[in-house]
């Protein structure tokens, strides 16, 4: 098991499982919480994250395949996405290559939001573009179900902030490409599709 990322809440390992390269995400116990509450929170969040990843797929957004959800060890085993993080891509590509990608990212976020999914941590590290040019959304660990405008804008605001802070380019052109596209899709949907 190779540790690839240690966040505040969980550890990510790269592992081989059934001859496949997989990501193992484990929520580590917190010694400051009483054990009953700690176990409840970790298993709830594990299930919740797996559900959001699945629901995103239902509206056509590529997300990692879930292979195993282990609530007792609060572990998710999921597909390892081979590709490039948007963070890397945005720095090494020209505006011309980036424009169609950003238009698609904008539409994907629109799809997630209008189906009531808030990503919760929409940074350029959590978007992966694979060799087939599919845009994968990863890490729904801070995600939630909500139709509130404020929650949606927090998603967009974070993406804008990460673009501004980690890239030479300003985020403004990215947003100006996407915004006319959004306004052409009609009135904002604030109710879940039935």
């Amino acid at each position: 098991m190779v540790l690839i990322k240690k966040g505040a809440e969980a550890e990510l390992f790269l592992e081989t499982w059934c001859e496949k390269k997989v990501i193992l995400k484990r929520r580590t116990p917190k010694s400051y919480r009483i054990p009953d509450l700690d176990l409840k929170l970790r298993s709830y969040r594990t299930i919740h994250e797996a559900m959001l990843i699945h629901q995103a797929k239902l509206v056509g957004i590529p997300t990692p395949l879930i292979y195993l959800v282990d609530t007792i060890n609060s572990t998710i085993i999921m597909e390892y996405i081979i590709g490039k993080q948007l963070r890397e891509l945005a720095n090494e590509s020209s505006e011309l290559t980036l424009k169609p990608i950003f238009l698609r990212i904008g539409r994907s976020i629109g799809k997630l939001h209008s189906s009531g999914i808030i990503h919760g941590d929409l940074t350029t590290s959590n978007l992966i573009i694979d060799p087939q040019k599919r845009i994968f959304f990863i890490d729904f660990g801070l995600g939630k179900k909500s139709l509130e405008l404020e929650e949606r804008s927090v998603d967009l605001f974070l993406l804008k902030r990460t673009l501004n802070s980690t890239h030479y380019l300003s985020a403004d052109p990215f947003f100006s490409w996407v915004l006319p596209d959004i306004s052409s899709t009609g009135p904002l949907q604030t109710r879940l599709p039935t």
Partner: protein, 119 residues
């Protein structure tokens, strides 16, 4: 309140409420600590008087190899003075509310608060 009416013990309910809310505060602090890569936490204000919260934060900081500090108890009870002082500043700037018209705004955004004495 519903649980209390169902016959649950009041001290148990208070303990549960405290454990859940302090776990939330500690987790938020933990996320902030990890996110901005700092190694020190200082607990101040009225909540600093609570031993359980101090203990939780101390445990959390030890897990992250960070240092933990808490202000001495005699400096923990300053909230009343803060509120009173804000009241004086507001009054002197002409901000006044009748008792009849005053109520609690639980979700008042900090960036929506008018501070006329700062202009």
């Amino acid at each position: 309140m519903a649980k209390l009416k169902q016959g649950f013990d009041l001290t148990d309910l208070c303990f549960s409420l405290q454990e859940v809310s302090f776990s939330m505060l500690t987790e938020t602090t933990e996320r902030a600590l990890a996110h901005i890569e700092r190694d020190e936490v200082l607990l101040t204000g009225g909540v600093a008087a609570n031993a359980r919260l101090s203990n939780m934060l101390r445990t959390m900081t030890e897990d992250h190899n960070a240092k933990f500090f808490v202000v001495p108890r005699e400096y923990c009870g300053d909230c009343g003075a803060q509120i009173a002082w804000t009241g004086i500043l507001a009054y002197e700037s002409g901000v006044m509310t009748d008792v009849n018209n005053s109520f609690v705004i639980p979700r008042w955004r900090i960036d929506d608060v008018e501070i006329p004495w700062r202009h």
